[in-house]
Symmetry: C2
Subunit: 255 residues, 2 copies
DNA sequence: CGATGACTTGAATAGTTTCAAAGCGAGTGG
DNA sequence: CCACTCGCTTTGAAACTATTCAAGTCATCG
């Protein structure tokens, strides 16, 4: 379930003639200069990470965990904004002021925490750290654009497929028979919030996917995908997700 | 609520009567080091800005215009991802690889274009440019989080109200009687794409708003909002939008 | 003018949510 | 070890919102 395992999954499952020249995209390596500074936070499932320490802005670097950035609008409207995986970064200034927002750990793991000022100085001193941060932010912007397009344009079924693809690509590991396994770090209602869908509706759709044999769930927190390509074919967002997670650098010709 | 609602308008149109303590937030000042470099692009309405020049990554800095970042998924599913206003930045790496994406000018204006490498060097040399870029990116992240929450959690009516609030706060000017005027830089179908709503449905809702007297449209591209606070009260996303655009710095206590 | 494209509106339909009830699982105390 | 309870999940039927499709209106431009 490590991110190393997931990258090999990508290479094994989707060989779209991805040239090796641009293989450095994923997983993003965290520079040593970053790893050696910062406070290590050990996360528990469900643990909120405080967005400011002593009134100061913070930066988080995900070393080994899955995090959820969640926004709550007045009226108990909760929206999962983004999922953060190893290599991702989060700056407290990403949070809209005035709204209620939380950064939640979904799995046990390790996260590095910095004061923003300190991180900023570190980046000024170490160009590798700077380049890492900029790349990570850009990648997350791109992921959020896909998430937005999925929620805005796709129906419930396609949204769920997109979400499963995201998890499979980021945290999945190959299993027997070309299957893919991953842990489901979100509860049903958390998934529903992330997808902008009603929890009841979501449950129905998952039953449908299970019924069609695309999904196997030995228990509620473990998911087997029988045929990842068949699953991918069910969502228009899959190609974008796969080229973002799959190691291919953006090709200027495609822009 | 009133001081938040009016402060951005004040900044744009009147001279700075707002308190100086948090005045640096909006509008974001583009440092001279940035303004003096880069290629100035004069935009026309509808003009696409090429996301790469000679195969190289680019950075855009919006000086005076409104831009739309639009993503298209297979099957002609177009989603407006974000609107860019003066002071905003766009890096071509924000675009998910493999998907079709466009950066469109919605108004005539001026945009600065850089090769990413050159911009990166500029930022390394000028800390003010670096701080500006980081702040602009963070602010846009926050705005996109609100946009996502609006699309994921609100009904069609509330989404439209949220969109109108966004435009009013960013590009609106006070008119007589405490009214607010702004140009509508998007067509109906573009608004619909931005909000993840059907264009027919959108038209119905605008008629409803006009019927309730909240909106007055002398022509299709000009909008008067009779009572901004009344409009704001119709969307749960308004407080977040207003504190983001209204000049208040994020208060750590709120996080 | 007459034509074209953008916008509006109505009626039928499809998809999603709501509400309520029942099912399952993990943890607790008898 | 079992019954109990609590929270999360599943499922059904009714209600509702939003979409689709088609027809009609408006505006702009040659």
């Amino acid at each position: 379930m490590s991110h190393l395992a997931s990258s090999s999954l990508n290479n094994l499952t989707f060989s779209h003639g991805v040239d090796a020249s641009s293989s450095a995209e994923w997983p993003v390596l965290i520079p040593n200069g970053v790893l050696s500074h910062g406070t290590t936070v050990h996360t528990r499932r469900g643990q909120p990470l405080p967005l400011s320490i002593a009134g100061e802005e913070t930066v988080f670097v995900v070393r080994m965990a899955t995090l959820l950035f969640r926004l709550t609008l007045p009226g108990d409207l909760r929206q999962g904004v983004s999922l953060l995986y190893p290599g991702d970064v989060f700056r407290s200034a990403f949070v809209p002021p005035g709204g209620e927002a939380r950064l939640l750990a979904l799995t046990p793991g390790e996260v590095l925490r910095f004061r923003f000022d300190a991180f900023s100085e570190l980046m000024a001193a170490a160009p590798a750290a700077r380049a890492y941060f900029d790349l990570a932010v850009a990648r997350q912007m791109a992921r959020q654009a896909i998430h937005l397009a999925a929620i805005g344009q796709l129906d419930c079924f396609q949204r769920l497929v997109t979400f499963l693809m995201e998890l499979a690509l980021h945290t999945g590991a190959p299993a027997s028979d070309g299957r893919v396994v991953f842990e489901m770090p979100l509860s049903r209602s958390e998934i529903a919030e992330y997808l902008g869908v009603n929890a009841d509706t979501l449950s129905r759709i998952m039953s449908r996917l299970r019924g069609e044999g695309l999904l196997i769930q030995p228990d509620r927190h473990t998911v087997y995908v029988s045929d990842l390509e068949a699953l991918a074919a069910l969502s228009p967002a899959s190609p974008a997700l796969m080229s973002l997670c799959g190691g291919a650098a953006p090709e200027p010709a495609d822009l």
